[in-house]
Symmetry: C2
Subunit: 304 residues, 2 copies
């Protein structure tokens, strides 16, 4: 099965602590690494998880708070020193491009790879697409403009039934079309329906990253139908007022989003450093949405 | 004895690794924390060493390579979130001020403390002075403009000989002048020389930070008479060509500087990540200058 995994590099909030790194994740899609957010220390976290700089192709920034972006200049300049080639595209708001371009040009002179900045709109929209994947931004509801990202695997090819292909002596030249759903028309004009010679494709998986944001039902609408959702859960219910004052969610609000969106699985993170551990976050979220995973540095979740 | 210590937060080079953090140190001078360089991850290293943000007053940047400065925006913004008050002065080249001011203003909005940028000249000169300490910049010889910093404790007050003060019935109002070297003139005009009523002050200590730099005898001249020298030792002798190509020193070159400068003690650091450990660095430096300390993250050296 082709890989589609989420790797958590950091799931703390606001400031790095000795327990949690600031926000960063890597979506490993068929060995193509796509980063979401890049707090200070992200480059080291990549090394700890043995995620190779050479495979990093895209970096999507959710918003321009330091804990989501201050690791970027160091990461880009370290990759240059490590002889990275190819291209890395940084997707962020136009404000961020203006600021980061200067910094990157200053500290990362003559990199052996291309650094491209692509503007993202606060209103969202498709920010990346290839033959097998789309990445879509959508609005979140934080103190400053912020977007989440949905990674959607495109529909995969149908599986050929080998015995039928053999029995019908289907020419190789037709197999590609049949994998994509074509019926097989024999030389005598007989039509063999696709469903007789193929089985359904593997399911196409999807992942949504929702951080940082207030609880808002529009987030659930935006991510409806996504299999796995990462949603910030900075606080527990006892601190709900703090959460709302600061543009954040509680663990149970994260769980409500997952429930309302009809997700299969929820990963929570972006924990405030005011807690000694996140047991209460997990308890409160699981009570509403049982299949909740407590995000943690070093965790890999396979979307299968 | 009033504290004057060097705290090593990071002594790696170029890029952070799982063994060493990028460059940063804190000179703790009588509980006033003065940082030299601020690579990525410095804020966490401060917490690990339990060095309080509230006591940090000055940050001196040697040069504008990422591994010496990219931790600054995160540190300054985390201190704002932690409710720091007072003032922090960042000393760096005018180029750095132009660049960093933008970044800091963007990520560190309305801090509860004042952030002041003070320009440093490539030619060096006194960059800070108060009643008890001077900090002087001096040129180093790297690929881009770079300065080292010398921290010099001013002469301390002489110690009163209590029995003499009592015997001569010296009024309290005169003691301050006598501690600073005045003779005591009795009411009948008799002069009691200062040396009869005081003993010498504790020695005034000094510390020089020399990173990054090629070996250059002018560095030894600049730091002559300094007690403790930190000098970069990126490479070992076998890699001397690399060192010279990249504007760095070997461990034995660092030791030669300490020897030529007449230092009491040498701390080495800024190790290339191409070595598994720094045993060879220490062996090569100690052969030339025996009192060499292998710098390491978490090390505190008291200048006494």
């Amino acid at each position: 099965m082709a890989r589609f995994s989420i790797n958590i590099l950091g799931c703390g909030s606001a400031t790095p602590s000795l327990r949690h790194q600031p926000s960063s994740q890597i979506v490993d899609f068929r060995d193509n690494l796509m980063m979401i957010d890049c707090g200070e220390g992200t480059q080291l976290a990549m090394r700890r998880m043995r995620l190779k700089f050479s495979r990093l192709t895209h970096i999507f920034i959710s918003h321009l708070h330091g804990d989501h972006v201050l690791g970027l200049p160091g990461l880009l300049s370290t990759m240059a020193l490590h002889g990275k080639t190819g291209r890395v595209t940084v997707h962020t708001f136009p404000d961020g491009i203006r600021l980061l371009k200067n910094v990157v040009e200053f500290f990362c002179r003559e990199p052996g790879y291309e650094i491209v900045f692509e503007p993202v709109s606060h209103e969202g929209g498709i920010v990346f697409e290839d033959n097998s994947l789309t990445v879509e931004a959508f609005p979140l509801y934080h103190r400053i403009p912020c977007v989440g990202y949905i990674f959607r695997e495109k529909q995969k090819q149908r599986h050929l039934i080998g015995d039928m292909v053999k029995f019908l002596e289907i020419p190789v030249s037709r197999l590609h079309g049949i994998r994509n759903g074509d019926d097989y028309v024999k030389q005598d004009g007989t039509v063999i329906p696709n469903s007789h010679i193929t089985t359904d494709p593997d399911p196409s998986m999807s992942y949504a990253y929702c951080s940082d944001t207030l609880y808002n039902p529009q987030v659930a609408s935006a991510v409806r139908g996504v299999d796995t959702i990462y949603h910030e859960a900075t606080y527990i219910d006892a601190d709900m007022n703090k959460a709302h004052d600061r543009g954040h969610s509680t663990a149970s609000e994260a769980a409500r989003i997952a429930l309302e969106a009809g997700a299969d699985r929820l990963i929570i993170g972006h924990y405030s450093k005011s807690y000694e551990n996140e047991n209460q976050h997990l308890a409160e979220a699981s009570a509403i949405f049982p299949n909740t995973i407590l995000g943690n540095e070093g965790l890999t979740v396979n979307l299968l």
